[in-house]
């Protein structure tokens, strides 16, 4: 790796949090507004890619110490399981439901089962995107050495 860029690193430290927060917003708002699991997952991947650009792959690896391919598989599993929940209740596959909650500070909240589905999708997209990036970036390091 070439020398560290102080400005990029400092900006990344702040920007990464903003991007991550925005991705959660996109993920959670996907039921009624533009957004959803796919964009949310890609956004997280974008944040991590930024970290990869600013820092080293080894540092990022300590921050995310899990196998991304497994993460992607878990994500798809969650999404499929959400659809299968309706099998237990004797409803058609992929039926959805909505719960209404009142939480003191946040007020009225609508929780849809499609949010669970979206979380699964987000994990899958994040895992896939990251494993592709890792596959290429790790290989390059080995190659140059």
């Amino acid at each position: 790796m070439k020398g560290k860029d102080v400005i990029l690193q400092t900006v990344t430290k702040m920007a990464a949090y903003i991007i991550l927060a925005f991705s959660v917003y996109l993920l959670a708002g996907g039921h009624h507004n533009p957004g959803g699991g796919f964009v949310g997952g890609l956004m997280v991947a974008a944040a991590v890619s930024l970290l990869l650009l600013a820092y080293d792959i080894r540092i990022v690896r300590t921050g995310f110490p899990f196998d991304f391919k497994t993460l992607a598989a878990v994500g798809v599993l969650i999404a499929v399981m959400t659809g299968m929940g309706s099998l237990i209740f004797g409803e058609p596959f992929l039926s959805q439901n909505i719960f209404h909650l009142h939480i003191p500070v946040f007020g009225h909240i609508e929780l849809a089962t499609s949010l669970l589905f979206d979380i699964g999708v987000a994990l899958a997209v994040f895992g896939t995107a990251m494993s592709i990036i890792y596959m290429i970036s790790e290989d390059t390091c080995a190659w140059k050495r």
Binding site: F38, T128, I132, M135, I136, D139
Partner: protein, 112 residues
Amino acid sequence: METLMSILIGVLFTIGVYLILERKLLRIILGSAIISHATHLLIITMGGLKKGDAPLLALGKTSYADPLPQALILTAIVINFAITAFLLVLAYRAHGELGSDDMESLKDIEHE
């Protein structure tokens, strides 16, 4: 607007086909990506180009856009994202293994 889009789609298809017929692997990949973009544009043009809200009739929306082409395109984009990513990784591996990104020079590999 539809006419303009049709011309654009035609141009994109032309570029894509031209690139796919090249010998360099990277250009072939770019060509297939451009063809897929042309197809996505075609779907949304065929679904009708108009402005409008999401079709939530229960919320009293009256002018709404057809959501189905958009859903189709989103799915198609995701699939193409996966295929293009796979092709890129494959091309990268092939370049490392075969030492060339020229399809012509890959002709005479036999079963080892």
